[in-house]
């Protein structure tokens, strides 16, 4: 099963298996990662699963996958950077095995 490394804002790092086809937000929720809230459950309506894709992975992950994601990111609570994504919109594939995401200080 592909692995994702979640690095909290304070530097704590946790690695979890995230099933193929699941998204990075759900992987965090199932495993109690604190830095992801994901309150709308992946409906592209809340911007509380904001993450920064590690620089080494931005090429493979790519930018926002829809206009809605792009617009919602603007209302994210923490600073929005070029590598910002909503983690509910990053679906796990074999190619993303080993993905590293950094979590912002706050989601609200």
């Amino acid at each position: 099963m592909p692995k994702v490394t979640y690095i909290e804002h304070d530097g704590r790092s946790q690695v979890f298996d995230v099933p193929l086809g699941e998204n990075v937000m759900r992987g965090a929720l199932y495993n109690g990662v604190e830095g992801i809230v994901g309150e709308c459950g992946g409906g592209l309506s809340c911007a509380t699963c904001h993450c920064y894709v590690d620089e080494a992975w931005t090429g493979r992950v790519g930018g926002p996958s829809s206009q809605a994601e792009e617009e919602l990111l603007e209302s994210a609570a923490a600073e929005v950077k070029p590598n910002s994504r909503l983690s509910c919109q990053i679906e796990m594939t074999e190619a993303l095995d080993g993905l590293v995401v950094h979590l912002p200080e706050t989601q609200y």
Partner: protein, 415 residues
Amino acid sequence: MAIDAAHPVPPNLPRRVGMDQVPDHVPPELIRTAGITFGPDFLKAPHDFMAAMHEDYPPLFYDVSPFGNMWTAIKHEDALFVLRHPDIFSNEGATPFPRDPDDYFYFIPIEIDPPHHRKYRNIVDPTFSPKGVLKLEGLIRQRAKDLLDEFADKGECEFTTEFGRPLPVSVFLDIMGLPQDMRDTFVSWAVDLLHSNDREIMGRSMRSITEYLKQAIAEKKAHPDDGVVSLIANSAPDGVPLSDKEIFGFVCFLFIGGLDTVFATLNNVWLYLAEHPEKVREIIARPDDIDKVVEELLRRWSVTFSGRVLAQDYEMRGVKMKAGDRITCLLPACNFDPEVFPNPKEVDFDRPRKTILAFTVGVHSCMGAHLARLEVKIALQEWLKRVPQFALKPGAHIEYRPGGVVGPEHLPLVW
């Protein structure tokens, strides 16, 4: 005040009713009697009333009502804060729904705050996730088509009874793994329970629902299938099977939370569309924008409210609230906050995407939100294929009745 979901006890929280029971810490200038859900001005046009509150009411005020006194928040920003801080604004004891004190149960997961909340959500989230509900798309579409076949050629229908209510109930039965021949019975139980305003009828309906669901749960324990009743009845988070009280509270909550809200949403939206043919034409002309259409309609026609109990003293907007006070976020009003949604009563499918409050936010955010969105979307698509032009029946009288879910009681349409 962490509660033990397997051993439920009725909450011992003060319930204050009427002007005689306004606590001393409430500043007199913030006291109002808005008549939310029952006053004649509210019932005349509930959404117009709630939109106008941004001009006529303080952003946070103390509403005194025969149904219970409570702080009432109408600003989008305040609702986000309240709903996102369960440590301050608790859900435990905040659900007004009456239950038998001798056979008490919690509505799960809505009455369970973190840290235990997620244990229950993880059981059903895969089913109700955006991807999970997509598996139901074909089935929902077929249910919508079957209903339309009954009346599309007749040139008229009573929307609420022929489409708005049976569609969500059919879909609910499919998801739960319950038989379709229960559809009309479930509709009448839900209507009796939530719309009769008669305690005797409500009690009778609750007893019928309880008896039926308990028997269904027992059957699914003996013969598991892939429906949600079976999923809950046979789940064992962290290796511990759910207790009977937890299973019943969970299944019962899905019934109460999942039916009336979708009825009301469809009924509101179809009333609006019947009176705005130009919006119907726009929806038909922009098939690829259906998701935006649904989101904006859900913002404009939100149907319910979200209550909490203060777990500690807390000051917001300079108002000092006390532990034990109740507060409600008036979600439709929050969705009309002009600071967030300029020209808020206008239906504009091209608004920038912002957090709408139709489904609340925070840990207790509606788990049926994606299903509701999908049902509204499919209902629109299938209906407009068969009935692309329609209007309110001439002489129709639109009536709203008091209750926690806002929508027209009857909706006769012609085409």
